[in-house]
């Protein structure tokens, strides 16, 4: 039986209240808040976070294929999936693929995974959906959109959730689109977009799918529905006869926002975190057509209870203190020239040290057992030459040994918190703490690694690891 072997999700630490946006521009406020990526995050780094959550206790080398789904890939040309595969230290012959352009890409990727597994080309497929959505200041999308990611490991060996039926239909209707050289989405008058588009197409697709699945909406314990906004979400549920109180999965408009291609995947993770064996789930995804899936939860779901998922990441948060900080996060502020030193990178260095820098794998001395990081030729402790075994440190937690707060930083948000961390099981790491409330940091606090974009010097995204106080 094909299905979901594991799931994970990621909600960035920062939340921007819609009151803050309204205060900045005048006019009415939306409800609640939205999740926003920090300045050092993008779709790729959030995708890594969701994958790390999903792959707890799972051998990364057992993965045969990785599909990375996003509307906001960090590069127009340059595959993000290959970078993520490097970060996760997947085996060299892992099949990697980027999927883009449609918000329903993740559920379409379920189909690709099903076909790959059926054909025998893969046994385990990792699907990651992630979006970091840049919107025009003072726009409707600014109120609506949020950032986040979800990941699923798919396969046919005793899945925790079986994927029983799938229905796919395309549609060339123009809802929203973005031109190659424009930063923000375009759309048309909403009476047309919804009246002739979503509100017509969605119920038809669900009805057709249910007919094909030989099921009725009442068969499902939970229903996960894509919607362009809260109002349409409620309307579609009503039109389909979904009971809002018991059956309808919450869409998180009021605490995360619309996360594009991660929207339905994140809702599905939230559903699975609450699901019990025997539950049947219907998912409906939309964008340039529709994907509808019917799933059944098995007893294997209990083994996945330690995932942070939506539930734990939602509970762990910090407020964006003022609206302009959000603009700085999204690089939407024009800075005075010469204000910050130019930062550069050397591609040859990044390339030859990728295992160290990107996969965050250190060395353990075979003679004295000392953990060495960054890469050494001679052990820092016993000075033996070249007697090392690989020693992953990305998955280790540690304690703050010392720290400082640099107000003269070149990073966009001050202070930059420098930190020396002593790792559980040995080893020491020097770096920055991110996603932090400077007032609460102290010596001895437990910290963990998080994958981030250090800077964009040299016209490329320079990824590395930072530390954060443990979430979830």
């Amino acid at each position: 039986m094909f299905g979901i072997l594991s799931y994970g999700a990621y909600v960035p630490m920062f939340r921007l209240s819609r009151d803050q946006i309204a205060k900045a521009w005048g006019g009415g406020s939306g409800a609640g808040e939205k999740a926003v990526a920090n300045f050092d995050e993008d779709s790729l780094t959030m995708g890594v976070e969701a994958a790390v959550d999903c792959l707890q206790g799972i051998d990364h080398k057992s993965i045969d294929a990785l599909y990375f789904v996003s509307l906001t890939h960090p590069y127009q040309e340059k595959q993000a999936a290959s970078i993520i595969a490097e970060v996760l230290d997947l085996k060299p012959d892992t099949f990697t693929l980027d999927i883009d352009n449609s918000p329903r890409g993740a559920t379409s990727a379920f189909r690709l995974a099903a076909d790959a597994i059926a054909s025998g080309s893969a046994k385990k497929v990792l699907v990651i959906a992630s979006d970091c959505r840049v919107t025009a200041p003072h726009s409707g999308d600014e109120m609506l959109f949020g950032d986040g990611a979800a990941a699923f490991l798919l396969g046919d060996a005793r899945p925790a959730v079986t994927i029983d039926n799938a229905y796919h239909v395309f549609n060339s209707f123009m809802d929203t689109w973005r031109l190659p050289n424009e930063p923000f989405n375009r759309t048309w008058e909403d009476r047309f977009i919804f009246g002739e588009g979503y509100s017509k197409i969605a119920p038809q697709a669900v009805a057709a799918a249910l007919k094909q699945f030989k099921a009725t909406i009442k068969d499902f314990a939970k229903v996960v529905l894509y919607a362009p906004d809260q109002r349409r979400h409620t309307e579609l549920a009503r039109a389909l006869g979904v009971d809002a109180k018991t059956q309808l999965q919450e869409a998180f408009f009021n605490n995360i926002g619309h996360t594009g291609s991660a929207f339905v995947p994140m809702m599905l993770v939230a559903t699975l975190q609450e699901a019990k064996a025997g539950d049947k789930i219907l998912t409906f995804n939309y964008g340039d057509g529709c994907d509808v899936h019917a799933l059944t939860v098995t007893a294997g779901i209990e083994k996945l209870r330690n995932r942070r998922g939506i539930k734990k990441y939602l509970a762990s948060k910090l407020p964006v203190s003022y609206y302009q900080q959000y603009l700085i996060f999204r690089d939407l502020v024009i800075e005075e020239p010469g204000g910050r030193a130019t930062r550069t990178s050397s591609l040859p260095v990044l390339w030859r040290e990728r295992k160290n820098l990107v996969s965050l794998i250190g060395q353990k001395c075979r003679v004295c057992g000392t953990v060495n990081f960054p890469l050494q030729r001679l052990c820092i402790e016993c000075q033996t030459e070249g007697e090392f075994d690989d020693y992953p440190i990305w998955d280790k937690k540690g304690k703050i040994f010392t720290f400082s707060m640099d107000e003269r930083t070149v990073q966009p948000v001050a202070p930059s918190v420098a930190c020396i961390m002593d790792l559980e099981g040995g080893g020491r790491f020097y770096g920055n703490i991110t996603d932090r409330d400077p007032a609460t940091i102290d010596v001895g606090q437990e910290v963990e690694f998080t994958f981030r974009n250090i800077h964009d010097g040299g016209g490329l995204h320079n990824y590395f690891w930072k530390m954060r106080t443990v979430r979830g």
């Binding site: 930062r343 040290e353 400082s404 640099d406 107000e407 202070p415 930059s416 020396i420 040995g426 020491r428």
Partner: protein, 406 residues
């Protein structure tokens, strides 16, 4: 260690420019200013210089940086660089050439022209902690601030107690700097101002950080015999007692054994220097010192590393005024890096200059007009210390100079 520099070389003359924002002065001017002061003090002609060692961190390239402005004619010149220990490293190498009997009269000179860079802090940083390839440590304040965090935490100092301790370090240096004619900053600053200044890198505020300056300093090093001849009828020459460099393998950020409350290379260099000079109790035997107070916490920790204060107890000595100009063991008699300023390639020789002037009883020659005396009574041995790098990894110089027979 088979050899010792003790009493094998002497300083016949020294010079030091005004440190600060020398907008109207270039590298060449600074070098000429310092060198000609030293030539005059030693009573020699430029042609008497047989060889030279030029220290500069970023204001020059080869020995020609010195040969060109001084029009030195085809003599050997070595440019040295060892971060903030650069000038002292020039002095050490020059002294070794004399001790080896290769040269009789040599020039050690250090220069830095920082203020042409357009940066108000240390230029050329532009980085923010470890980027890819771990090449960058980040700018100095964040590194030394971590020293303060750990020191406070380990010895149970509250933020207020720790902050007052390091603030008192800078308060003392500003008091001394106000007396010193050639210092970059010549103003006393109140404890209240120091404690309430904006943070640069928590817990270090503005007055916990030293200045970044232009400047040059020079020394004429020769044999004891020649030095005595040159200084006949003048104040006596000053003798090298110990010159030690210790370079750490730079592992403090990676090796959990490093405690971040001391600087191991300072301890190592100091112990070697004490052995070389025959000193057993530095707290009592060293009359005075100029140490590397790039940040106030650095000076505090250095007092313990040099065994001037017992481990973990420097607060008592700082707060009781032991290191003040009128204290038992004055430190930073000219204002230190904090107030005299910090042109990286010149600082080590500036420190040596203050020790030299104090030992000869000439400190008031560079007194700020109208200010009380800076000269301390009967100094016998002076110590200089540089820290090039950051606590986790650095080049350390510890030198001891003194009068003959001490």
């Amino acid at each position: 260690m088979s050899g010792s520099i003790k009493d094998r070389v002497a300083i016949a003359g020294m010079g030091c420019t005004r440190f600060g924002e020398r907008w109207d002065t270039g590298t060449n001017d600074l070098l000429v200013e310092a060198a000609y002061q030293a030539f005059e003090d030693a009573g020699i002609e430029p042609k008497d210089v047989e060889a030279a060692w030029l220290g500069t961190s970023s204001s020059g390239g080869t020995g020609m940086t010195l040969a060109e402005p001084l029009r030195l004619q085809y003599i050997p010149i070595t440019r040295v660089e060892n971060a903030c220990a650069t000038a002292s490293e020039a002095f050490r190498n020059a002294a070794y050439a004399v001790a080896a009997g290769i040269h009789d009269i040599v020039l050690a000179i250090g220069v830095e022209k920082f203020k042409d860079s357009g940066m108000s802090g240390m230029g050329g940083g532009g980085t923010d902690g470890p980027g890819h390839a771990m090449l960058s440590q980040g700018l100095p304040p964040r590194q030394f601030a971590m020293l303060a965090t750990t020191y406070f935490s380990r010895y149970g100092l509250s933020f207020e107690e720790g902050k007052h301790m390091i603030g008192r370090v800078s308060w003392k240096s500003h008091k001394n700097g106000a007396l010193t004619r050639n210092a970059h900053f010549q103003k006393e600053v109140s404890m209240e101002t120091i404690l309430n200044a904006p943070m640069i890198a928590w817990p270090l505020g503005l007055y916990d950080c030293c200045g970044v300056s232009d400047g040059a300093a020079a020394a004429i090093i020769t044999t004891p015999k020649i030095a005595k001849r040159l200084r006949k009828g003048k104040e006596p020459p000053v003798f090298a007692k110990a010159l030690q460099i210790a370079i750490s393998p730079r592992d403090g950020n990676y090796n959990s054994k490093y405690d971040w409350t001391h600087v191991e290379a300072t301890v190592r260099a100091a112990e070697r220097a004490y052995k070389e000079a025959g000193i057993t109790n530095p707290r009592e035997e060293i009359s005075m010192a100029e140490v590397h107070d790039c940040f106030s916490i650095t000076e505090a920790v250095t007092m313990e590393d040099l065994r001037f204060s017992p481990r973990g107890k420097v607060k008592d000595d700082i707060e009781s005024g032991r290191f003040d100009l009128d204290g038992a063991q004055p430190i930073q008699l000219d204002g230190g890096l904090k107030c005299f300023g910090h042109p990286v390639g010149a600082s080590g020789l500036r420190m040596m200059y203050e020790m030299y002037m104090q030992l000869q009883g000439r400190a008031d020659e560079v007194l700020n007009p109208g200010m009380p005396s800076r000269q301390i009574k009967n100094p016998k041995l002076g110590l200089t210390h540089n820290l090039g790098g950051s606590p986790d990894g650095c080049a350390i110089f510890v030198g001891i100079v003194g009068l003959e027979g001490v």
